[in-house]
């Protein structure tokens, strides 16, 4: 069966993707160092607290307590790198036209659940797709919006006087902090799902994020859009 090498990810995409990984990790870590000093959020059912962010063992295991100043130092240094890398990615994605395979398209919301159902083997066939399926389109677009949301809510907490209009737009100082926190939680959830999906997608897919290329069936065998897997 003849094969081809297919270019999956450009050099720019790969660098920005991998640079983002330690930067996001640093933002989350330093954010936790800061959050510890006023760790007030929890998930509640009525007045019953289901989960407090975070239990004492969590703080102690990670060695977080009493490192607020260090957290602020890291957060307000790495925020620039995180923002610049994210901005570069958005500009690049627009300029290169790669947004076409990344943005949701009409019907994405309707088809995305089918992708998830196929993931858990409840339906056999994945809906027609391009480079990314509809669930991926939604997830990869959402994570960029989350990045933008983190920057905006972060600015609202950082400069609540000079950007008072922004802070009040977000519901005030305390709400902006709450939103900033939950965006962090969403990032962690995204990361967990992403890692699982990458593990399931296999070595070739992971390798393509490092080398840029993957081995695919030769062009006469380009998988039909309704086929499973191959273009994932």
């Amino acid at each position: 069966m003849p094969k081809q090498l297919e270019r999956k990810h450009t050099l720019a995409t790969r660098w920005m993707h991998w640079i983002n990984f330690p930067l996001l990790a640093m933002m989350v870590w330093s954010g936790l160092l800061i959050y510890w000093a006023n760790a007030v959020y929890s998930v509640k059912l009525g007045s019953y607290e289901l989960f407090h962010f975070f239990p004492q063992w969590f703080w102690d295991t990670l060695g977080i307590p009493f490192r607020l100043a260090e957290g602020l130092q890291l957060h307000f240094f790495f925020m620039w790198l995180f923002t610049l890398n994210g901005l570069a990615y958005v500009i690049y994605t627009i300029a290169s036209g790669e947004w076409r395979s990344l943005l949701p398209i009409p019907g994405s919301l309707r088809r995305a659940p089918l992708v998830a159902l196929q993931d858990v083997h409840l339906v056999k066939r994945i809906p027609p797709q391009g480079k990314y399926n509809d669930a991926q389109r939604i997830a990869y677009t959402a994570v960029i919006l989350m990045g933008a949301g983190s920057i905006v809510t972060g600015l609202a907490i950082y400069k609540p006087l000079q950007l008072a209009w922004l802070t009040s737009l977000l519901g005030g100082y305390e709400w902006a902090r709450w939103e900033h926190f939950w965006l962090m939680v969403l990032f962690v959830v995204f990361f967990a799902v992403h890692v699982v999906q990458v593990a399931l997608a296999g070595w070739g897919n992971f390798r393509s994020m490092i080398t840029g290329y993957d081995i695919v069936e030769a062009s006469s065998e380009v998988p039909p859009p309704a086929a499973e897997g191959e273009l994932a």
Binding site: R100, Y158, P160, E174
Partner: protein
């Protein structure tokens, strides 16, 4: 790959033609959807050749990635704590200059109605632990060009225009409370005792400290002259208590609570950046700490 060719997903078109447009919304000619995607593939080759070509690419990719990872990790570890601290310190100062560039004294912090006042919190008693005789207390103001230093009593301050505001006090720890303050604007004190000094002649900083000099803060001129920066003597309708900074404290929504010094004993105008309690290297907080 020099011999790349571009393959449109013609199969999608076939699929749309066969199954109807509602199956693939946007239709066969919607260039914004998947039909506009490009693929770049090499010439067909045998499976063995493909594996070899892929191996060559992998070796290079993983080598570059591995080196970049190792350099970053060891570079980070090799960097001394002094270098890192200096870097963060410079970042704070850079952020400060960005803030100052966009700063406008016309922008005001939101004010709240009295029913939004929240329970006050006491946090930090540095500089308040020595005994203080309220009758012997004086506010010493110095450093104004061409002026002798002043000794003011609380009654002198109360003669100046009284300003009230209900604003949010934000602690650098992340919590905030809404407080009703009464006092005199710092800028009103300045106007009353140092009229006629040209703004260009004004020292760029203000240092403030408790009478025992155990707590001290530094402010930039534009923040201290902000219309919502008060020398407060009342809090939530009552005279200040000792733990909230009697007889006179700073209250301002322009900076975190750590900068709103309690029990002010001395105010000094200066061109040298004043030292600041929490910005000392052993604590490492941002000197500017401005909103």
């Amino acid at each position: 790959m020099s011999d790349d060719k571009e393959i449109r997903l013609d199969r999608v078109r076939e699929f749309v033609d066969k199954n109807g447009e509602d199956v693939w919304p946007g239709g066969r000619d919607n260039t914004a959807n998947v039909l506009g995607e490009h693929r770049e593939v090499s010439e067909p080759m045998s499976g063995d050749d493909a594996r070899k070509a892929m191996f060559a690419r992998s070796r290079r990719g993983f080598l570059v990635g591995g080196v970049a990872t190792i350099v970053s990790i060891f570079g980070w570890r090799w960097m001394s704590d002094e270098t890192k601290d200096a870097t963060y310190h410079r970042a704070f100062e850079f952020n400060e200059s960005v803030s100052q560039f966009f700063y406008s004294p016309q922008r005001l912090a939101p004010e709240f109605s009295l029913d939004r006042i929240t329970e006050a919190r006491v946090n930090g008693l540095e500089g308040l632990e020595s005994e203080l005789d309220p009758n012997a207390w004086r506010l010493n103001v110095s450093g104004l060009p061409g002026k002798a230093s002043l000794e003011l009593m609380i009654s002198d301050l109360k003669k100046l225009p009284r300003t009230e505001m209900t604003t949010e006090l934000k602690c650098i720890e992340g919590w905030s409370i809404i407080v009703h303050w009464a006092g005199v604007r710092f800028s009103d004190l300045f106007a009353a005792y140092a009229p006629g000094i040209l703004p260009a002649k004004l020292p760029q900083y203000v240092a403030m400290m408790t009478p025992d000099e155990l707590y001290f803060v530094g402010w930039d001129l534009q923040s201290i002259m902000h219309p919502q920066t008060l020398l407060a003597y009342e809090m939530n309708g009552e005279p200040l208590t000792v733990e909230h900074g009697a007889p006179l404290r700073l209250a301002s929504p322009t900076k975190y609570g750590i900068k709103q010094i309690k029990r002010i004993g001395r105010i000094e105008f200066t061109n040298e950046r004043p030292r600041d309690f929490w910005a000392q290297p052993e604590y490492g907080y941002d000197w500017y700490s401005g909103h």
